[in-house]
């Protein structure tokens, strides 16, 4: 029988800035390993603000962009754009209206991570929408405080 964990606070207290991942609130999300894997996504809180570091790929395995501390470091050739959202977040989208990554800032300091995340082989690593966030391929970490990690999913 599958277990669904919802509404938990992982290394974050109610009211604190956090990310909403798989219906759980957390201060940290890591998929892939920067420096070791081509694809990675790290979402973290620093000084009460949300930050993203990422190397994103399309479903064809081609690199799309690199993001460092929410700044676009590099946008590779292709049809992708990075757009600002009306709620103050931002999104990586293409002309077919496909969202690669959508960061929505909700009330209460919550950042919702949505999108389809692919690795260099074009494999779907994770997928998120406003209902759920599924991790298909590890490694991944949800929640972190110092050296202590919350939920660890191995690759």
């Amino acid at each position: 029988m599958p277990i669904h964990m919802r509404g938990n606070y992982i290394f974050v207290a109610p009211g604190e800035p956090c990310f909403l991942v798989s219906s759980n609130y957390t201060n940290y999300l890591e998929i892939g390993r920067p420096g070791l894997d081509d694809f990675f996504l790290i979402a973290y809180i620093q000084e009460k603000h949300h930050f993203i570091d990422a190397a994103l790929f399309g479903n064809n395995g081609k690199p799309v962009c690199r993001v460092a501390r929410n700044h676009l470091d590099e946008l590779f050739e292709g049809d992708w754009e990075v757009k600002t959202r009306v709620d103050g977040g931002f999104a990586v989208v293409n002309s077919d209206d496909r969202n690669l990554m959508n960061l929505r800032l909700l009330n209460g300091g919550i950042c919702l991570i949505e999108g389809k995340f692919y690795n260099k082989s074009g494999e779907l690593v994770a997928s998120g929408n406003d209902q759920d966030f599924l991790i298909f391929k590890g490694p991944a970490v949800i929640g972190k405080s110092g050296l202590a990690k919350g939920i660890v999913i191995n690759g």
Partner: protein, 258 residues
């Protein structure tokens, strides 16, 4: 301090010739702001949000466009300004500055300083056209804090900024923040502190979208909320670091301060 008043007056007279008024045409009404000259060839720095307008698409994504017609008033004369550097619309809007040029030569200009030299407590001043007034207004205060703020639209992008204990108003955006000690520009005035609450914002959006705004009570409520949004001011203001504009001027080869 007998000389203090003269110091302020002297600083104002030095920077005033380089201050320009900016009007940008946009759907739904013109945008007003301030700018300042940075070269003798008519290069002007102002805020990005003064010369652009935005719309929201069905997915909640902002579409930005530069105004088709930007008028710079300098020395009692109107000039059509050209945007000489467009922020790449493929990237999130990151820093609130725009670079313009007017067809004028021999223009006075302000010297640009360095953000790293700014200290808490430094005396600073600014000049501009608050609330769309035709006259230049002078304001002064101190560096209250140095910190990072979310950019004007993209809250997830943090910008080095200078918080000042002075009243910034609509129309001041784009003006120079000048450090009194050396007369150099260390920031670009970008926003005032003071806004309506999320509840009032929801009320405003509801009244606008519900079609009920024609009723007297609803119209008056909407007007009050919009007035509050435009005018609420807690006596603090923000300028973003001048380094973003300096870096871009250098990248595109504009010789500043000469």
């Amino acid at each position: 301090m007998p000389g203090y008043g003269r110091l302020m007056a002297s600083t104002a007279s030095q920077i005033k010739p380089s201050i320009v008024r900016i009007q940008a045409q946009a759907p739904g009404g013109n945008s007003i702001g301030t700018g300042f000259l940075v070269s003798k060839e008519g290069h002007v720095i102002t805020c990005w949000h003064v010369v652009t307008f935005h719309s929201v698409d069905k997915d909640g994504l902002l579409q930005f466009e530069y105004s088709d017609r930007i008028v710079v008033t300098w020395n009692n004369r109107d000039y059509n300004a050209k945007v000489i550097h467009r922020q790449n619309t493929d990237t999130p809007y990151t820093s609130d500055f725009a670079l313009l040029k007017i067809e004028a030569s021999g223009t006075p200009f302000l010297q640009l300083g360095a953000y790293k030299d700014v200290e808490q407590g430094d005396e600073v001043c600014f000049m501009g056209y608050p609330r769309g007034y035709d006259e230049i207004f002078f304001g002064a205060g101190h560096v209250a804090s140095l910190r990072s703020i979310g950019s004007h639209f993209n809250q997830m992008v943090r910008l080095d900024s200078i918080e000042i204990d002075a009243s910034i108003n609509r129309g001041n955006s784009g003006g120079p923040l000048v450090r009194i000690s050396d007369g150099k520009v260390v920031g670009i005035v970008t926003l005032r502190h003071g806004d309506i609450t999320p509840t009032l914002r929801r009320l405003r959006d509801y009244l606008k979208s519900s079609g009920k705004e024609e009723g007297i009570l609803e119209a008056a409520t909407l007007e009050l909320v919009e007035l509050a949004e435009k005018n609420t001011n807690v006596g603090l203001g923000t300028a973003i670091s001048i380094e973003y504009a300096k870096n871009e001027l250098h990248t595109i080869g504009v010789r500043i301060g000469v």
